[in-house]
């Protein structure tokens, strides 16, 4: 409750006194200023555009560090709402920023990864004619993402949510003259819109039930009366989750993320690994208080009992994690393997939220942002070196050719696989497994362990095939290490993938969600083995199992031995379980049919009967009336005089 009191203290101070949290506004607006200056000013010079964009983001990063030092370490949460934006009836929406441990951490991730990715892009996209457009879009994206992170109410978050969708559309479709990229951009945007519609409905439900859209106020209402949402509790939670389902690409809206790999590789690293897809998970954690309400359904859905939204979220997350991992087994495109791996890890995080562990989800989000961005940038360096070859079966032997990329890529892989003690991924994955156990979901715990071993397997498959063995193509044998602007971000990102910097993060996050949290005794590097040995041992065992299988199958293999062994299942995995085909077979024709129906109604009823009908009958009447006009002056005069006579006669009678 002292957090609450501190907030009141802030609210009581005058609006124009400068508070440390005002820094957050600068951080938010810097990328917007960069984007606007590029769009309206220095667009012609790609050098100026990139310099402006990068320096804005780097400054924002340093301001974020300052904010982190002021608030993250033993600070108090602060909300500033200086601008009254909309005040209609019972709806009050302020433009405010939330500065607390959660948002400060996200600020660091977003500005940090964005800076590195932009520096990397100057080399990766060297000479591209659309470079200014690229940096403008990425600045716009950074601005939108920071908006989601800082928003202190659902409506403001939704606005930035949509902005992220737009800027992601611009970036996926950066090479818009390539039809596949244009289609992928459209697909990503439309799939996201589907989820956003649910999100919007969820916001409306929450607003009508609690009378507020502001996170702290909703928290106060639900804190005073956990049943405030009544029979709508589960439905509200699920509708809000729809938004996360779209942005964080959860089943069944996961289909856009692999296609989004059509965008430039640095974009995949920033948007489709570290930030945009993390927005869904972040939103679930930010609005976690909504999901803590006991599950309840409207009367006519009584048979659902008291299943809470969290149970369904956990199931969907777990299912997505498993499904995506299975698909990743049989992909040959280096970026698509990483894309499905991202899907799988996002499923992991969502599962953690569903098991009641938002701190574990945020922990994994943070570490994942680092090592997955590293892996994508590494993949970009490989693709760059192999002259835009993306098939891992046409690489091989790259460890000699690309020493820095190879080493950092292996560090990223180890972190993703959760190599014990040494890597950040181990601690965050362990936190999720512990959350599943503590939340009373032994089945999901088992599923998590299974997915962990799958993750190790497909990542090692990628590393072994792409970096070891003989050169499998001409391009691979002539590959050369990337320029320094590309290797430097790789090395920087490899540092946080190693454990040392991260094992305190779990306690940092736990104390955000639970003010009464006390760190475990015997923490530190070996902490997981001390206080939750079951999860740690199973996690390490999964790694060992996956690694053994991968080395056994792929070390020295010339072609993929799996399809022959898996048969039909292997083909289904290779074809992504036919989701795209199913959607194309069911939803696209249904959508087209509806479109044709509405088109016909518009053409024949609205336009035909309504508009042309009215216009036609008026014109017909007019044509009949004009026959009365003779053009003879004296006829008119006579009719006029006769009319006057009649009026006078009637008036004087």
């Amino acid at each position: 409750m002292d957090a609450h009191a501190a907030q009141h203290a802030i609210a009581a101070t005058p609006a124009f006194s400068s508070q440390p949290e005002d820094l957050a506004w600068f951080i938010l607006l810097l990328p917007l200023i960069a984007a606007a200056s590029i769009a309206f000013g220095v667009r012609r010079s790609s050098f100026l555009s990139s310099t402006l964009s990068i320096s804005a983001t780097v400054v924002a990063f340093f301001l974020s560090i300052a904010l982190f030092l002021a608030f993250g370490v033993g600070g108090y949460p602060a909300v500033t709402s200086p601008f009254n934006w909309i005040h209609v009836g019972g709806l009050q929406v302020d433009l405010g920023v939330t500065v607390d441990r959660l948002s400060v951490l996200m600020l660091l991730i977003v500005t940090g990864v964005s800076s590195l990715v932009q520096i990397y892009s100057t080399a990766y996209l060297k000479g591209d004619p659309g470079l200014s457009r690229y940096f403008g879009s990425i600045s716009l994206f950074t601005f939108s993402m920071l908006g989601i992170v800082l928003a202190d109410n659902l409506v403001m978050m939704f606005v930035f949510w949509e902005l992220v969708g737009v800027s992601s559309y611009l970036l996926i479709g950066f090479w818009f003259d390539k039809p596949s990229a244009a289609d992928a951009a459209k697909k990503a945007f439309l799939t996201n819109r589907l989820g956003d519609f649910g999100f919007m409905l969820g916001i409306l439900v929450v607003w009508s039930a609690t009378g507020s859209v502001q996170f702290t106020q909703i928290g106060n209402v639900l804190g005073g009366n956990p049943g405030a949402l009544g029979g709508l509790a589960s439905i509200a939670g699920l509708l809000i989750f729809c938004g996360a389902m779209g942005k964080s690409a959860q089943f069944p809206l996961h289909v856009w993320l692999p296609d989004a790999m059509e965008g430039p590789t640095p974009v995949s690293a920033l948007i489709h690994a570290a930030t945009m897809v993390a927005a869904g998970v972040y939103m679930l954690c930010r609005a976690f208080v909504l999901f803590q309400a006991p599950g309840a359904w409207p009367a006519h859905l009584w048979f659902l009992g008291n299943i809470s939204a969290l149970d369904i979220i956990a199931l969907i997350g777990g299912f997505t994690a498993l499904l995506a991992a299975l698909i990743a087994f049989q992909q040959d495109d280096i970026k698509r393997i990483l894309a499905y791996s991202t899907l799988s890890q996002l499923g992991y995080m969502v599962m953690a939220v569903g098991c009641g562990g938002p701190d574990a989800a945020m922990y994994h989000l943070t570490t994942h942002a680092g090592f997955k961005a590293l892996l994508f940038l590494g993949a970009g360096a490989v693709i760059h070196a192999c002259h835009h070859e993306q098939n891992i079966w046409k690489m091989g032997g790259l460890w000699k050719r690309l020493p820095i990329t190879f080493r950092t890529f292996v560090i990223g892989t180890a972190a993703l696989a959760g190599f014990p003690i040494l890597t950040s991924g181990f601690y965050s994955k362990d936190a999720i497994l512990v959350a599943a156990l503590d939340g009373g979901h032994p089945v999901l715990f088992g599923l998590g362990v299974l997915v962990a071993s799958f993750t190790t397997f497909y990542m090692l498959r990628l590393v072994i095939v792409a970096f070891f063995g003989p050169y499998r193509s001409e391009a691979a044998s002539h590959a050369h290490e990337a320029p320094i602007a590309m290797t430097w971000p790789l090395i920087t990102l490899a540092i946080p993938s190693i454990a040392v910097a991260w094992f305190g993060l779990g306690d940092y996050l736990s104390s955000h969600f639970n003010p009464h949290f006390h760190a475990h005794e015997g923490g530190g590097l070996f902490g997981p083995f001390n206080h939750a040995p079951l999860a740690a041992v199973f996690g390490s065992g999964a790694l060992l199992f996956g690694a053994t299988a991968a080395f056994g199958l792929y070390w020295g293999a010339d072609s993929d031995p799996l399809p022959a062994r898996l048969g039909l299942l292997g083909r289904a995995m290779r074809n992504r379980f036919y989701f795209d085909e199913i959607y194309e077979g069911i939803f696209v024709p249904m959508h087209d049919m509806l479109g044709r129906l509405f088109g016909a109604v518009d053409r024949w009823v609205v336009s035909g009967l309504g508009i042309r009908g009215t216009h036609g009958s008026v014109e017909l009447f007019g044509r009949a009336l004009r026959l009365l006009q003779t053009g003879n002056l004296q006829t008119y005069t006579f009719l006029f005089a006769a009319g006057v006579a009649v009026v006078v006669f009637v008036a004087t009678k």
Partner: protein, 101 residues
Amino acid sequence: MTPGLHHYLIVSGLLFSLGLFGVLARRNLLVIFMSLELMLNAANLTLVAFSRFNNNLNGQVMVFFIITVAAAEVAVGLALIVALYRKRQSAHVEDLTRLKY
């Protein structure tokens, strides 16, 4: 026998009817125009008669206005007719049906 108000009104009515007949029956614009003036003057006569018999000068003031306006109207109207005649070589109303439909 001194003429009473109704005598003036009858004369005025006759003048007005004559004017109206002229407007409706004649084909030449100039004659129609003259008939219109006749109708105006019938109205003037009525006003003056009422003014005289009611001992109220308002009617006469009104008549001055009407005469003034009529003079202006004649100037404009005659100019229009002359212009029309120059253009169409005719001042007959049945030839002026261009604005029909």
